[in-house]
Symmetry: C2
């Protein structure tokens, strides 16, 4: 596995994979880099470079690459073949949506339980997944192979809860709160900041609509 | 309003705002750039530059900046004072979460209705917000001031639905599907790609855990 791929490059791989899965369903056997590039509005040299970084097999002139082989290579590279168990911490609307959604298993993420502090939720089940009290998280993580948490708490408690998670063996936090978390060096935090995305979005839209008025 | 702020800079403003709102609730009156920088793990010169770009008032030596003024400046800059109506298109788990969540109004986004094609959902209400048939979207958007859509459809229909939206006057699409949408130049698309974020996250975690084993 090439560890030197850039973040931008990494972000494109799921896009290739979803496109190839659609082609596979449609019965397409071979595909060329230019065809992929055209469909996804990407530069063809970029597509070639991206695919070379994850795929051992070369494309054949005139035939292109085999769709199924490419899908297997991408899944392997992205780690989608091995399923990792994960927990959702903070069972509000977003947390509930993640517990209800089973589609993340396609991406190698299997959400197995949730944690919250609300006595009205603790003890219940969502989509067959139990919701436990955050106070008892140690009990459920000890001796488990769970290393990943999806953090969907209110922002005011995000840092505190993050500390609890890392103290209990969580090594990866997919952070949906707008908080910039402090964390040990041996923990990976991936921010998915809805508020920041919305800020960029609103700002760009504001500028566009203002220009039209003037 | 300074239109020349970078995306990275824009992403930090919601972070400043949430931090300042917490300080305000705690009764803090004045705050200095170094204190903000330390709390958010940012470079102090960066914080100074960021705040100068949105705030008319200068910080006073020894006193720092007024928290409430700064909050007002940030809200104005981010457009959080004006509320914009928005629709959710694709009422699956994520779409439902957005309809149920009222917190986006804080960010100037007021989700007023949902659209789907599933007859089991169309005609129902979520959190008091009606769900209409996508086939009838023209009727509901015509003569409305709705310009923003949150796109949460399955990826297979994302482009098709996006085309319907832009044909019916939508000018901003907050895109939660993994599809790279083609769209008219006078439309703003902000991608919030969960699959890409998850790919980056898994990859970084994989590398970290592999290094420890070796």
């Amino acid at each position: 596995m090439d560890e030197n791929v850039s973040n931008r490059q990494l972000e494109r791989y799921p896009m290739y994979l979803s496109h190839l899965l659609m082609l596979s369903e449609a019965g397409v056997v071979n595909i060329s880099a230019p065809t992929i590039a055209a469909a996804l509005h990407l530069n063809v040299e970029q597509v070639r470079k991206d695919l070379q970084a994850v795929s051992s097999s070369e494309g054949k002139p005139k035939f292109g690459r085999n769709v199924e082989e490419l899908i297997a290579d991408l899944k392997k590279f992205l780690g989608y073949n091995e399923t990792n168990k994960a927990i959702v911490v903070g069972v509000g609307h977003l947390g509930q949506a993640f517990l209800n959604y089973s589609g993340f298993t396609r991406y190698g993420l299997d959400i197995v339980m949730g944690f919250d502090i609300d006595p009205l939720i603790v003890g219940s089940e969502i989509n067959g997944k139990p919701i436990y009290s955050l106070d008892e998280i140690g009990k459920y993580l000890a001796d488990s192979d769970i290393k990943i948490a999806v953090l969907t708490t209110p922002q005011g408690v995000a840092q505190e809860v993050s500390d609890v998670l890392t103290k209990n063996g969580i090594r990866g936090i997919w952070n949906f709160t707008p908080i910039h978390l402090s964390h040990p060096l041996n923990v990976v935090v991936e921010d998915m900041n809805l508020a920041s995305s919305l800020a960029k979005f609103s700002h760009r839209l504001q500028i566009l609509l203002k220009k039209e008025k003037s």
